[in-house]
Amino acid sequence: MDAILEVVNLTKRFHGLLAIDNVSFALERNEILGLIGPNGAGKTTIISLVSGTLNPTAGSIKFEGAPIQRLPAYRRGLLGIARTFQVMRPFPGLKVLDNVAVGALFGAAGGHARNLRDAQEKAGHWLRFVGLDHRATQRADALGGPDRKRLELAKALAMRPKLLLLDEVMAGLNHVEIEEVISVIKKVREQGISILVIEHVMKAIQSLSDRLLVLHHGEKIAEGKPETVLSNEQVIDAYLGRKRL
């Protein structure tokens, strides 16, 4: 097995609250792993710990075999880890194109763009890829919710990552838009990128993921093929509440 990401006994405590409790999992190369669980289960915390936005209380995170849990966020970006934010964090005063150009100027291995013009060209490519090229010259704060989701995705892709962490990129989208994003994510995987994806839209995550990992109150309660996991009784309990007989 060739794991790109290995998480072992990961724990995160916010003062009194145990947000992530001893979670271990691995993400294979070129795999799409779906991370699901009820609100407050700790899904976003996992992504923040892997991307370096937060530091773990205990446990280790290995990326391509090397421990990264103590590296600052930007170093992980250089190694090839990119994330999107559930609460979108665009560069509001910059043009949409320049938002994405930042990813090409920096990103994995310190950026693959030679200069600003080159970065903007590459940014244009990623905007077309996610279907946002028609808004390239507008300021990012002029975008509505769905377009901001697309922008988050384009910014992350422009970094040329090896591992992409997607935090609810489909929330608030309609059916047609969800279909579009699913096909975009599938195309991303075809480029050899490994993906960890958090999603509430159950149909979407079922059709996307090779495997699912279920979190509940910060603990891993199930992991495996989507069909098996979703028929697991503990998982159903976590989502719908315990059956009373």
Partner: protein
């Protein structure tokens, strides 16, 4: 073609300004030196405050250190002016690194407050240094004529502006802008935020220090109170914000416009000048909160509605 025309226009303006000492009055040249130095300071503040989004109150310390570099070198060791400038820049850059590493970890208002005390601290330190003339100050050798100082100031402003223009098109500058727009998003995209912020701080200290050095040699006198004057820092901020922070020409326009307004007010109505100056600032904040550069850009599209929208957007 458009870009070439812009560069040509800028070169013509600089060349035109450079001729002023040959036909302008002594008063105009002296006003010019003051305005050029303030414009340089506003422009250098623009690097850390406008582009990186860290509103520094520590830039008057860089200015003061630049002045003391020149004063100490020339008055105490009889060294040439250029050596003094180098010493001043070295002092300011070291200070930027030493102070920048801890305080640039603070964000927004906290950063501003942390830098607010720096000028006071430096005044206290320098007042007790024998080599810096304690609180009596230092007297520099006299160089007659304002022309040299005028041309030096103009050259420095042009250089600072070139650097800012480079910032707005370079990878480094984009890193700074990304930090300003959203620091945590910049970090996950691979921007070494700590390094970039400290480098921006150090870069702006270079120009502020040279400006301080030129000013000290021109005035031929330096004491701690005038070297580390926090109101000078407030002026830089007002001028940069008046003109448009984070733009290439905004801080220059702001510095020239406000220098002229304050000069005219001071000569017409001596006593109430600062009151009227305050009114100008208040009006500017209400009618064009994003600065003169934004007004120039958007007034063409919106006309008078521009002012109405600003008032509406900022109603409490």
């Amino acid at each position: 073609m458009n870009r070439v025309r812009k560069i040509a226009l800028a070169a013509v303006v600089v060349a035109g300004l450079a001729t002023i000492p040959w036909w302008g009055s002594a008063v105009l040249v002296q006003f010019g030196i003051g305005a050029l130095i303030l414009a340089t300071l506003a422009q250098s503040w623009n690097i850390i405050g406008g582009y990186t989004g860290y509103p520094s109150f520590g830039n008057s310390v860089f200015y003061g250190l630049g002045g003391y570099g020149v004063a100490i070198a020339m008055a105490q060791f009889q060294l040439p002016f250029a050596f003094g400038l180098l010493l001043g820049v070295a002092l300011a850059v070291s200070f930027a690194f030493v102070i920048g590493l801890p305080v640039l970890r603070l964000r927004g208002h906290y950063f501003a407050i942390a830098t607010l005390g720096l000028a006071e601290v430096m005044t206290a330190i320098v007042s007790n240094l024998e080599i810096a003339g304690r609180n009596v100050g230092l007297i520099l050798p006299l160089l007659k004529g304002d022309t040299v100082f005028y041309e030096l100031s103009l050259g420095l402003l042009a250089l600072t502006t070139l650097v800012v223009a480079w910032l707005s098109r370079s990878r480094f500058g984009f890193g700074l802008i990304a930090i300003r727009e959203n620091e945590s998003a910049a970090a996950v995209m691979g921007v070494n935020t700590t390094l970039y912020k400290v480098l921006a701080f150090a870069l702006c200290s270079v120009f502020a220090a040279i400006a301080g050095g030129i000013h000290a040699y021109w005035i031929t006198y330096l004491d701690p109170g005038s070297a580390f004057d926090i109101t000078l820092n407030v002026k830089m901020i007002i001028m940069a914000v008046f003109g448009g922070p984070g733009t290439i020409f905004g801080p220059i326009l702001g510095a020239f416009a406000l220098s002229a307004i304050s000069e005219i007010l001071a000569s017409k109505i001596t006593n109430l000048a600062s009151v009227f100056f305050g009114l100008v600032i208040v009006a500017a904040i209400i009618f064009m909160p994003r600065g003169f550069a934004d007004l120039v850009q958007r007034f063409r599209q919106l006309g008078w509605r521009y002012f109405q929208e600003n008032i509406r957007a900022h109603r409490v």
